[in-house]
Each structure stands twice: as structure tokens, then as C-alpha cells.
């Protein structure tokens, strides 16, 4: 009966709230968000624009700048609390222990610095290396992400590479200092579908080989289905449903997740009207009382105006809804 102790999570986010103090009022971009990430795990964070998924990623990286601030909660990386660190310590972690991949590879690389120089900058920010040694390391990293003629590419400038190439370069750069956690903010949204499939495939291999943990922020459920181990669905700053990918996408318990899944045109009969979630996200300045999804929800009742809790419905599976569709 000696069960293996569950492995210590790499990243634990607990009751995180990130707010923006605007003139019009305080915006709760991330509201009471908790999740954890095991080594080598891929977590998908899904939601509409403005649901707080990107801000969650930036909060973990310590990149929230005024007027934004982390109002409450804790972020622990390998047991170390990040929210109380000073700017200098946060900088040492960024690109080193936690790193990030951005959405648009066309604008993510500095246009006036060569690829090799940018690698050197990223390495040199965290380790003392010679330029030549940095280039060797960069070359190996480029080979790993499948860039042909890697050595020559190092003297290229970003405008000489295609979008897919640039995203590979960005991925190689974000992994060069062997981070424990990588946050990818819709990194394939700006790419062609074929390139997107290549990149996803490559990311899966990289995660398996290097044991890095990945947070994949996206609005594309099909990407989540193919790539992630677990998924967290965000709505209006809150995680409304989180659990293993097969369960959440196969049998969603929250009406919003169900709505998202129904909105994918793939399953629709040709010629029929496409499904959609009626209405729009509430203004972050004026969130409805209780469940924020209530005004758009077909199941909504008066009880939904009461404060909600996130209830466990299975191992690693939480839903923030009174009704919990499907299942039992």
C-alpha cells in the first residue's frame, strides 16, 4: 500500500488576483485563479479575448506593470514564492527559470540585431559566456527546433526569416537557459495551419525531451485537445473549469465550456447555422453578481446570483458552476 508520494509541482498558483487600477475603476483581470503544474506537464489555458488568460501568464512572469498589480494570492516556483520578490530577483528568473513565447513571431525579434546577437543577449543576461560560446549553444538550440543551416542563420537578421522560422527561433531562445516553466501566449495563432501543426508537434517533443513544464495560452480548443495534458477554461478573469483534457473536452461540466465546444464549426452539418454562445463577455468594470457567465447561460437560475465556489468533481478536476452538466 505504499503509494508513491505525488511529485512536488513545479509551479503552484494559488488564489491569484491581478488588477488594473484605471481611471474608470479597478479592473479584476485575474480573479482568484489557482492551478498547479507538474514537471513535464502541458497545461492549456483557454478563453476568449479579455478573459484574463494572457494576464495570468504575465503575472507568473512578474511582468505586470503599473497600473496593473498583483493584488492577492501566491505564485510558487519550485517552492519559492515569486510575488514578494524584488525587481532584480524577478529579472534573474525571467528567461532563466521561467520564460515566455509570444504570439506574433514577426514582431517578437529585434529587427536590428542578428539572431546570434539576440541569443547572446539572452544567455549573457543570466550566465557569463563568451560570444563564441553563446553562438555554439545557439546553434545547437536552432538544430533542436529544426532550423536548417543553423550556423548561417545566426548571422541572419529577423527580416530574412519566414514567420515559422522566426517562431522556431523564439522557441529556441526561450528554452536556451533551460527554464523549468515556459509560458506560451498563443504562439501558433499567427502562423499557417501547416506550420502550426509542425510547431505543436515540435513542442510536444521538446517538452518530452527536456522535461520542461508548459503553459499554453490559447483560444483554440483543437490545439488544446492535441497538445495539452490538462486544461483550464477561463471566463471573465476566473477559471470556470479545469481538469484533464479528455474529461473536460469530452464531457464538459460547465455550460461555458460546452458552449465553446459547440461553437467549433468542425462538427456542424454543412449548410446548418453554426452554434454560438449568445451575448458577449461582461465589462470587467461591471461584473454580474455571482456567476459571471449567468447573463449568457441558458441554465441560469436565481441561485446563480449567489457567490460561487470552485467544486472538486474528480481528481484534479474543478468546476465553478452550481449545476455541473453531464457526469453524475
Amino acid at each position: 500500500m505504499n503509494a508513491m508520494p505525488p511529485p512536488q509541482p513545479v509551479l503552484e498558483v494559488e488564489r491569484l488576483s491581478t488588477v488594473f487600477d484605471l481611471r474608470a475603476g479597478t479592473v479584476q483581470s485575474v480573479n482568484d485563479v489557482s492551478f498547479s503544474l507538474k514537471r513535464g506537464e502541458i497545461l492549456g489555458i483557454v478563453g476568449e479575448s479579455g478573459s484574463g488568460k494572457s494576464v495570468t501568464g504575465l503575472s507568473v512572469l512578474g511582468l505586470i506593470e503599473p497600473p496593473g498589480r498583483i493584488a492577492a494570492g501566491s505564485i510558487r516556483l519550485e517552492g519559492r514564492e515569486l510575488t514578494t520578490l524584488g525587481d532584480a530577483e524577478k529579472r534573474k528568473l525571467r528567461g532563466n527559470a521561467i520564460s515566455m513565447i509570444f504570439q506574433d513571431p514577426m514582431t517578437t525579434l529585434n529587427p536590428v540585431l542578428s539572431i546570434g546577437r539576440q541569443f547572446f543577449e539572452v544567455i549573457n543576461a543570466h550566465r557569463k559566456v563568451s560570444y563564441a560560446a553563446a553562438l555554439d549553444e545557439a546553434e545547437a538550440a536552432l538544430v533542436q527546433v529544426g532550423i536548417p543551416a543553423a550556423r548561417e542563420r545566426l548571422s541572419s537578421y529577423p527580416h530574412e526569416l519566414s514567420g515559422g522560422m522566426r517562431q522556431r527561433v523564439c522557441i529556441a531562445m526561450s528554452l536556451i537557459n533551460k527554464p523549468a516553466v515556459v509560458i506560451a501566449d498563443e504562439p501558433t495563432t499567427a502562423l499557417d495551419v501547416t506550420i502550426q501543426a509542425q510547431i505543436l508537434n515540435m513542442m510536444q517533443n521538446l517538452v518530452r525531451d527536456s522535461d520542461v513544464s508548459l503553459i499554453w495560452v490559447t483560444h483554440d480548443l483543437s490545439v488544446v485537445a492535441g497538445l495539452c495534458d490538462r486544461v483550464a477554461v477561463m471566463y471573465a478573469g476566473r477559471i470556470v473549469e479545469t481538469g484533464p483534457v479528455e474529461e473536460v473536452l469530452g464531457n464538459p461540466r460547465h455550460p461555458y465550456t460546452r458552449g465553446l465546444l459547440d461553437s467549433i464549426p468542425g462538427d456542424a452539418e454543412p449548410g446548418r447555422r453554426l452554434q454560438q454562445v449568445p451575448g458577449t463577455q461582461p465589462s470587467p468594470l461591471d461584473l454580474p453578481q455571482g456567476c459571471s457567465f449567468r447573463p449568457r447561460c441558458s441554465q441560469a437560475r436565481d441561485e446563480c446570483k449567489n457567490e460561487l465556489t470552485s467544486d472538486q468533481v474528480g481528481p484534479d478536476y474543478f468546476v465553478r458552476c452550481l449545476f455541473k452538466l453531464g457526469g453524475d
Binding site: G95, D104, N110, L113
Partner: protein, 325 residues
Amino acid sequence: MIAFIIQRVFQGAAVVLAMSLIVFVGVYAIGDPVEILINPDADQQTREAVRQSLGLDKPLWMQYLYFVKSALHGDLGTSFVFNIPAIQLILQRLPATLELALTATVLAILLGIPLGLVSGLNDKRWYSRMIMAGSILGFSLPTFWVGLILILVFGVWLGWLPVYGRGDTVRFLGVEWSIFTLDGLRHIILPAFNLALFKIALFIRLTRAGVMEVVNQDYIRFANAMGIRKARLLWRHILKNIMIPIVTVIGIEFGSVVAFAVVTESIFNWPGMGKLIIESINHLDRPVIVAYLMVIVVMFVIINLLVDLLYAGLDPRVRLGSSNR
């Protein structure tokens, strides 16, 4: 690259030729130098003799062709007033103006760009507002007035700095320089600052605008997310991206300081080209005016060529070539 330079040299030659025509006709139009050069009591015969000796009796087009012919042989004419070659007169005065312009430009770069960076990075802070307010003053205060105030404050009231002439000079590469002597440096501070003030304001605004645009770019956010140090981010990642407009303006401004330092040179009695050109205009000393403007045109052509070459060094996306000019 070579093709580019050759092409630009030909373009430059065309500009110089066009300018020479405009200048020549323009100078011809502003008056008859003979009236100023000789004693008003002289009789008609003397006037004719002078006119003939200066070549002013010929029709304009012949004068111009004669000028072009001599210019191609390196002779830009002889000063009516001093009776020495105009180009020699100008080259004598050039070092004084050059060192003044250089000092002013360096001063403007060293003050303007860092202040612009600071105010662009923290644009809401009180000191950024102060810098911006100061730059408005730099733009709007007239140079001559600032020059007079500088003389009054630092020369007359405080007595810290000399306000007249170049001070001690030292011979270097065959010409006299004052920036290489201590006394000369003391003399150059006030006029150089006077000239630099407008440029400081200009560089502050230009740098600030560039920084504020670049700071929000994805590649700066990415560099930040990769943990690049602040100072490094600023000097290597941001500054290099905003240098193109700044280099352009530095080039133009340096040229215009050399060409039009007239006011400052007059106020501080700096014996440079500006003073020479004012005197030449007063005396309608046509060859000097024409030669001076030719020198300035050539200088601008060269500066523009250098700026274009610098572009290619600064931004890998710039291709120097003939393709679509």
C-alpha cells in the same frame, strides 16, 4: 555599395551644378557691387574700368559660363574686396566654424539623447515633464537673445567665461584650432552652448518620441521577458532601433550649424565663416558669396552620403542600391 557611391557622386554633382546656377543668378539680382566698391565720387570712366576689370561688363550667361569653367579648374573667383582667391578666404575661416559646429553638435548629442531617453522611458514622472518644458524653451527662445543672456550672466555678472573671439589657438594639420588649448576651450563653451541649445531640444524630442514608440514593441517586451538587464535593454535593444531618424537629424543639423552659425558667430565675435559671409553680403563680394554657398552645397552632399552609409550600418533592412530610387 561602390555603385551606390558612384551614383550618389553623380547625383551630388547635378545638385551642385543646379545650385551654382541658382546662386549665381540670385547674387546677380541683389545689386551692383561696383556701386559699393568704389568711391561714390568716381567718374563714369573709372566705373567702367572697374566693371571691366572685374568681368562685370559681360552678359550674365557669359559670366556664369566663365565661372563654371574656372570652378572646374578649382578657381572659384577672387574676392572683390580682399583681392585674394575666395576659396582661400573661406578655408581660412572654415576651421573656426567647423570646431564650433562640432563642439555644439557633440554637446547636443551628449545632452539631448540621454535626456530624451530618460523622459521617454518615464514619461509621466515630474523630471520628464521638466525636461519637456525645458525643451520647449530651447525651441522657442531666439538664439541671439540666449547668446546675449549667456554673455550677460557668465561673462559680465559672473565673469567665469570669456565672451569674445577664439582665444589661444594651436597649429594642427596646417590650420589654427582653439579646441586644443585650454584658453580656446574656455572661449568656445558659451558660443557652442548657444548654438547647441536648439539642437538639444530637438534631440530630446526626437529621442523621446522614438523611445516611446519602441518601448511598446513586442521585441522589447520579449527581451524583457527574457530577463535582459535594463541598461542593456536601453543601449543595445532600444537605442539602436531609434538611431536612424536621430542620425539623419544630426547630419542635417551639423550641416546647418556650419552653414548658418552667423548669429552666434556675430554675437560672440567668433571669426568663422558666418561672419565672413555677412561681411561679404554687405560688400556684395559676389565671388566670396558664390564660393561660400558652393562649399556649403558640397558639404551637405557629403553629409547626406555619410548619413545614408550609416543607415546601412544601423539597420540591416536598409539596402543601398539603385533599384528604386
